[in-house]
Symmetry: C2
């Protein structure tokens, strides 16, 4: 079946949000850990983290324009650091629950039962239950004028991962970490590795 | 185990590329279909498409700085249109083969055996074997100065999908389309739907 641009424009808003958010394909699934300058922590599920480059190691992340209050973005701009923690099979339910609108004074760690972890003097909290964790440093952000979303770029300052995920050549086998991916606004899926292909030649 | 920023900086370049490309989590898996102004077609596997917003329906895509020649980017800038075609289980091998460096005169469609399809007067070629296809219109692009990658933003002008993928509320069940996702530079994975969660409340 087909949807034209006119049909997309005229859709019920929630139908369109679910359609467009899922039709672009599978998305990464992270918990972003932050703290404000008083040390009050925040944890938020995101599906908008994307690879931007390996050298320097950069990741992008998109923030919606009108999802006020945006504690995560405010904390990153205040402290310049954040953690990215892979959502795995065992913590999917708690991870999704972080999307509820808790007041700023209430940490999503305490609300969901996920455990704060601090590593190597890095001031943003990690999620202890995650098997792949990235310490991120803010580099820049900009507003995309087409729709007023904010794109934030951060650099990987440290990687913490279960050693059994790491293959000899540097490739991380995410299935060994039980990492999940996200579809649409509320769907979670567990991938099974199919194959790694050799470098393609004509 | 841990990698510090210093260790990442000093890594063998290929090890680092594989590590950083995979440690950010699962990525979407598309074939980008384009043609130049003479109608010569090009097809390229990409893992860098990301959701930017539902209204207007916008997707971003990242191009590496030095992967010359970049026929896909050149074609999009020349014609302002492109197609995004979900890679599914049946065409994974052919999809990966499009990453080989074919000369511009040789279309990856012919080289890999994937079939060109034209729908609704849209001038960019679709992949007939794909079950979810998006007609995209170029909106803008910019160079990210931190690493000279190019971020291109396009708008969804039409959606073509198998009707059995579409749920009543607009959510697209990608498992019904056998859509795959990508890890790292060369890994493909097939997700199994776990669950859709209700809107979370505190």
């Amino acid at each position: 079946m087909n949807f034209t641009k006119l049909e997309i424009d005229n859709m019920d808003e929630r139908f369109r949000a679910k359609l467009i958010n899922s039709v672009s394909g599978y998305k990464s699934a992270h918990l972003v850990g932050t703290a404000d300058s008083d040390g009050l922590t925040n944890l938020s599920v995101v599906s908008s983290v994307f690879h931007l480059g390996a050298n320097p190691p950069l990741l992008g992340m998109i923030f919606r324009p009108h999802s006020v209050p945006r504690h995560t973005l405010e904390n990153i701009l205040e402290t310049k650091v954040y953690s990215l923690n892979h959502i795995n099979l065992e913590i999917v339910k708690q991870a999704h629950q972080t999307s509820a609108r808790y007041p700023k004074a209430q940490s999503e760690f305490a609300a969901t039962g996920l455990e704060e972890q601090y590593l190597d003097q890095f001031t943003a909290p990690f999620v202890k239950e995650a098997k792949i964790k990235l310490a991120m440093e803010y580099k820049q952000h900009q507003t995309i004028e087409l729709n007023n979303t904010v794109m934030l770029i951060g650099e990987i300052k440290a990687i913490h991962l279960d050693i059994n995920c790491l293959q000899e050549d540097g490739h991380v086998d995410l299935t060994k970490a039980d990492s999940v991916c996200i579809t649409g606004l509320d769907g979670y899926a567990l991938p099974k590795q199919l194959k790694r292909f050799p470098y393609a030649k004509p």
